[in-house]
């Protein structure tokens, strides 16, 4: 299987560009904003301002490229590592920070934003994307659902059930597996004996495509095709994006225990952002000043989100009782009283 590729690491095209230079610049800026968030969150965790954080550096093309192929009202169902994708589909950075601060308001997507809170359990969420898209179709709408997950998630039983339902009911679901090489310490080849994760699609009666996950154009293009199939009732698609997690699994992980620095350096040469920059340069659509402007704008956007998140007054101690049911039950009321009484 040859992974789909459009943009080479040196910025030259080996296929047809799926969008124009202006769009390439917009998506480049979005990837830069994503990485700015990622670095900021890692730094804040070190300062004790955030709880454990799962960095996604290196996976920006997967996340921005795939979401770029969605309509603003389509569904996105991702994980703890998919902040850039969530933001690009309308989830505010402020809420992404709040979630990592350990504040439940971080889980709230604004009205009209069809993005579910990040899944922390591995593998449980893909089936929700199946139900979401299915319900859209049953209600006569043509929204589709994109679900993001890692290579490790394909080992969970729920992955099988999600893929199977999607195949059987031809639901408008796009399964995008970000194969970033590792599930915590476990390399991909210890996760499955299949030669390619994309091969799994065969068993569920849906197309399986492998794509260069650090190629923004390729990711965009295969997702766009999958979205078109889903929207016109042709059913689900499984996409395996070959990428790499540059950072540790989370800020508490010591990646040196299970992988070589050389491997990381090797993947850095295939950086998804550098690749688009090279393309823009080759096409006279890039200069230092614009890069600086883009970086500054990203920095300002992220700093503003941090400030807004940190300025929010923390929840009172008893707010937990008001989040559980539409109306607090008698048990919630009793327990709220007990907490007030005894602390």
């Amino acid at each position: 299987m040859e992974p789909v590729r459009i943009l080479s690491p040196d910025g030259s095209l080996v296929g047809d560009a799926p969008f124009d230079l202006e769009e390439a610049r917009r998506l480049f800026a979005a990837m830069v904003t994503g990485r700015t968030y990622d670095h900021k969150a890692t730094a804040m965790q070190k300062q004790g301002r955030l709880a454990t954080y799962a960095p996604f550096e290196g996976q920006e093309a997967c996340q921005i490229g795939s979401v770029a192929a969605l309509r603003p009202d389509d569904w996105l169902v991702g994980t703890y590592r998919d902040a850039a994708a969530m933001w690009f589909q309308g989830y505010p950075w402020q809420n992404l920070f709040l979630g990592r601060m350990g504040d439940e308001r971080g889980g709230e997507a604004p009205a009209g934003v069809n993005v579910t809170p990040p899944s922390i359990t591995v593998g449980g969420h893909m089936i929700h994307a199946v139900g979401l898209g299915w319900a859209e179709r049953l209600q006569g709408r043509d929204r589709v659902a994109l679900t993001l997950f890692g290579d490790g998630a394909t080992s969970e039983g729920d992955f099988h059930e999600a893929m199977n339902f999607a195949g059987v009911y031809a639901t408008p679901t796009i399964f995008l597996c970000q194969n970033n090489g590792f599930a915590i310490s476990m390399p991909r080849d210890r996760q499955t004996a299949a030669e390619h994760l994309a091969d799994k699609a065969i068993g569920y009666g849906m197309p399986g495509i492998q794509v260069d996950g650090n190629d923004l154009m390729a990711i965009y293009s295969v997702t766009r095709d999958a979205v078109a199939r889903a929207r016109t009732g042709e059913g689900p698609t499984f996409i395996e994006a070959l990428t790499f997690r540059i950072g540790p699994h989370t800020t508490t992980d010591d990646a040196g225990r299970y992988r070589e620095d050389g491997e990381v350096e090797e993947w850095r040469t295939r950086d998804p952002i550098d690749r688009v920059r090279a393309y823009l340069r080759l096409n006279d659509a890039w200069d230092e000043a614009w890069e600086q402007e883009t970086a500054d704008a990203a920095g300002d956007e992220i700093e503003a989100a941090v400030a807004a998140a940190e300025a929010l007054e923390p929840f009172g101690p008893t707010a937990m009782f008001d989040r559980m049911y539409a109306e607090p039950t008698s048990a919630m009321d009793r327990q709220r009283g007990m907490l007030r009484r005894d602390g």
Partner: protein, 325 residues
């Protein structure tokens, strides 16, 4: 003797068990190369090889189900689930198969296996990393559920669990992994499953608890001691089967009972402890039994978690109520 924390004591128990019995294997996500997310299995794969300290795919149902098959076929697997909040995909295997195989096969097939699971809150982790749903496991027929509170107990109870002819779920309080060091004997020893221990003697009231709540209760007892109240603390150490005699004995001694758990309030271990006290020691009770518990809410995230997990103040307030002070 060496001074060690609970993570190290468990590591030593696993090391001894692997060394003593070729049938013992360790099996779980990231247990090998990295030595587990809490480093509890650190170094074991280097010593015993990847055939006996096995890194598993991310598949909890698979880990427990495969461990059951291995156990039936003669191995003694010590499976690890990374956090109790990730054990739910394995519940079907635990409830439907692990706890039933002996009964289903009329003793022909058995499951001499251990499932180690870190659990409990207090570290401000992400969602699902602070669960205290041990009552669900204690509610499951056919499995024993052990919860150590100290390094010494952890080692002796884990070795007993590995040697037990039946499946044992071994819940490790995350907060206690590195919170406390003790002089732990180097050699092999076991502590009996199903036997509680009085960890503090007192005369005015009893606290019955387990896991990380033992330490919170000790702190509460210290607060109360300053007020002249003497509290007895019973550490259950096993929550299934419960040491009913120990619960009844302490109630008879002090006449007042506070049952403490960080599990959700409805149908938790404290409810069971209270029921035993009223069944077996009603006439010794001088005050209604108090339950100090987590709430019937999802465990809140870092910012408000401290208001969920019972602390010394909440426990002390309950003791005072039993005393009418």
């Amino acid at each position: 003797m060496a001074e060690m924390n609970m993570a190290q004591a468990i590591n030593q128990a696993l090391d001894l068990a692997l060394a003593a019995d070729d049938a013992v294997i360790v099996f779980g996500e990231d247990v090998g190369t990295t030595g587990g997310v809490f480093r509890v299995t650190d170094g074991l794969q280097e010593t015993y090889g990847a055939e006996r300290v096995i890194d598993a795919p991310v598949a909890e149902s698979g880990i427990v189900g495969a461990a059951l098959g291995m156990a039936i076929a003669g191995l003694k697997p010590v499976a690890e689930i990374q956090f109790l909040g990730f054990a739910y995909p394995a519940y079907d295997q635990i409830v439907s198969h692990v706890g039933r195989i002996r009964n289903r096969s009329n003793h022909r097939f058995t499951a001499p296996m251990v499932i180690r699971i870190p659990f409990g809150g207090g570290i401000g982790a992400a969602e699902h990393h602070s669960e205290s749903a041990e009552a669900m496991l204690a509610h499951t027929p056919g499995v024993k559920v052990v919860v150590p509170s100290t390094p010494i107990d952890a080692k002796g109870l884990l070795l007993a669990a590995i040697e037990d002819p039946d499946p044992v779920i071994f819940l490790e309080p995350i907060r206690m992994y590195r919170a406390l060091k003790q002089e732990v004997p180097d050699e092999h020893y076991t502590l009996p499953i199903g036997v509680a221990q009085t960890v503090r003697e007192g005369v005015h009231a009893s606290i019955v608890t387990y896991g990380s709540m033992v330490r919170a209760s000790q702190r509460a007892a210290d607060l109360l001691a300053e007020e002249g109240v003497s509290v007895e603390i019973v550490d259950l150490r096993t929550i299934s089967p419960l040491d009913e005699d120990a619960i009844v004995a302490t109630v008879r001694r002090t006449g007042r009972l506070v049952a403490v758990t960080e599990g959700h309030r409805t149908g938790n271990m404290a409810s069971e402890i209270a029921a035993i006290a009223q069944e077996k020691a009603l006439y010794s009770l001088l005050a209604p039994v108090e339950r100090v518990t987590g709430w019937d809410t999802v465990v809140p995230l870092k910012r408000t978690e401290a208001h969920y997990v019972p602390g010394p103040e909440r426990i002390a307030a309950a003791v005072r109520r039993t005393l009418g002070t």
